[in-house]
Amino acid sequence: MKVERARANKPAPFKSVNKTLLVYILLASTCITTISTAFSFYIDFTNEKEIQNQTLEQVKSSSLKSLTEAVWNVDQAQIESNLQGLLDVHDIIALKILDEKGKEAFSKEKAVEGSARDYVLVKKFPLVYERNSKSINLGTFIVSVSNYYLYQRLTRKVLFFFVSQGVKTLIISFIMLSIFGFFVTRHLNAMASHFVGSTLGDDSELQEIQLSRKLSYRDEFDILADSYNRLVQKVNTQYEAQQDEIVRKENLVEHSARMASIGEMASNVGHEINNPLTIIAGYSRRLGRVAEKMIPQGEMEEFHKVQESMDSSINRIGKIVTGLRNLSRDSTDEETSETSLGTLMHDVEALIGEKFKSMNIRFEIKYKNVSPDLMLKIKRVQVGQVLINLLNNSTYAIESQENPWVHIEIETTDEHLQISVNDSGLGIPDHIRDKIFEPFFSTKPVGAGTGIGLSISKRIMTDHLGTIGINEASHNTSIVLRFPLEIALAA
C-alpha cells in the first residue's frame, strides 16, 4: 500500500512545453495538409471527369455526324481519317465501328501500356443516318476511354500538392514555434528554472524574478513576474518579521530566565536575611529592656530614638527583600491577581527607593484622584517590572543633573487608570520617539543596556489591554501607562 501511494505521489515525468508544442504543431500541420490534399484531389478528380465527359459530348456532337456520313458513303479514307483524329484526343485508347448486325467493321487502337487497359470506360454511340426524314441504323460506334492517364495525372498532381503543402506548413510551423519560443516559452523556461533552481523549498529569502526582455509595452509575463515579485517581497517581509519575532522571543525567554534565577536567588537570600533580621529585632527589644534597668530615666529618650532608627532600618531591609521577591519572580506564567495600588507602589518603592536616596533623586508618588486602597486586578509582578524599568531609565537619564527628581502620578480619567512616570529629564528626542518601544533599541552605551526593557514593558501593557506612550505635551520626560478602568475592582 505504502509503495503504491508513494508511486502515486511521485510527480509525473517532466516534458518541456516546447517539445509538446512541436509534436502538436507537426500533428496539426500533417492533418491540415492531408485534408487540404484530399480536398484538392476531390476537386481535380471532378474537374477531370467533367473534362472527360465534355470530350465525349464533343465526340458525339461534332465527330459522330461526319463519321455517320462517311460510313453511309462507305468512304474508307474518310472513316480512317475521322478515327485517327479521334484517337489523338487524350484518354481515348480504342475506337470500334460495328455494323448493324453487331459485327466489327472498323477498329483502331492506340499503342498503350498494359495497365491502361485496366481502367477502361466504354461508351457506345448508335450510328444513325437521316435521309429524307427516315432514320437508317448503320451500326454502333464504340469509344474506349481509359481512366489510367487521368489517375496518373491526378496522382502526380496530388503528390506534388501534398509535398509542397507539407513543406509549406512545416516551414510555417517552425517559424511559429520560433516566434512562440521567443515570446512565450523562453520566459516560461526562465520562470521554471527560477522556481526549481533557486528559491523554493529552503528557508532562505526568496529571490525576485527578472525576465530578459526589452519591450516598450507590458504583457501577461510582466504582470505575472510583477505579481510574483510583489508576493516575494511580501513573503520576505513576513519572513524578516518572523525572524525578528523569533529573536525577540528568544530574548524574552532569556530575560524571564534571568528574572527567574534572580527570583530564586532572592528567595534564598531573603530566607537567609529575614531570620537574622528577626533575631536583631528581638535583641533590640532585649536591649531596650536591659537599658531600662541601667540607663537613668532622663536619658532613655535618646536611647529610644536610637532603638527606633534601628527598628525602622530592620523594617526597611525586610521591605526591600519582600519587594525583591515580589518583583523578580519568574513572571512568564503569572496569573492575574488582586492587589492594591498602594501595595504595588510599595513594592516598587522598596526596591528603587534606596537607589534614589543614594543618588539624591527626589522621589514622590502622587495619588491625584485615586486612593492607594484601590484594588486592581493585574499581573502584579509584571506591572511592577514595568514601573521598575521606567524608574531605572529615569535614573540613568537624570543622574548627572543638579536637582534630579522623579514623580509617579496616578489618576483616573473617564476611560483609564493612568500612571505617569515623570522625571526631570528634558524629554525624548523626536527622532527616536518612534523607536524606543522597539526591541534592541537602546541609547545606553554597548553593554550597559539590552534594549529590551521598553519592548517588554509594551508587551506587558498590551497584555493588560493597556498602552504605554510618551506624553508629548510635557516639558520633561513623561512616560504614561494607561490601563482600562476595568482593571480596577469596584470597591
Partner: protein, 119 residues
Amino acid sequence: MKSVKVLVVDDELEILELLKEEFESIGCQVRSAADGEEGLVVYQEFKPNIVFSDINMPKKNGMEFLEAVMALPGDKPYFVLMSGFCDVTEEEVKKLGAAHFIHKPVDFDFLLSLVKKVA
C-alpha cells in the same frame, strides 16, 4: 496571662529564645521545639492555646506540622505560621486552619497582641 500556654517552633534557636523571652515577659507559659516533629510531641503533652511556628524547618516543616495538629481530636489551637521567605500564600495557609501568616522579620508587638487576644 498565666493561663495562656504558648508553643514556639523554629529551627533558629536564637529566635526561639527571643520569642520565649517576649512571651514570658507578659507572663505566659512558654514551651519551644526546634522542628515540626518535636513540636508535635510537645504539643500533645503541653496542649497550648496558641502556636507560633516557622515554615522552613527540618524533619517536619511548618505546613506539615500545622496539618498534623489540626488533624488531632479535641480543641484546635490558635495557630500562627511565620516565614522567612517562601512561596506559600496566605490563602493556602488559612485553608489548612492557620489563623495568621506572618512574614519575617516579625513585629514582636503584633505577636504579643495576638497572645493577648487569645487570653
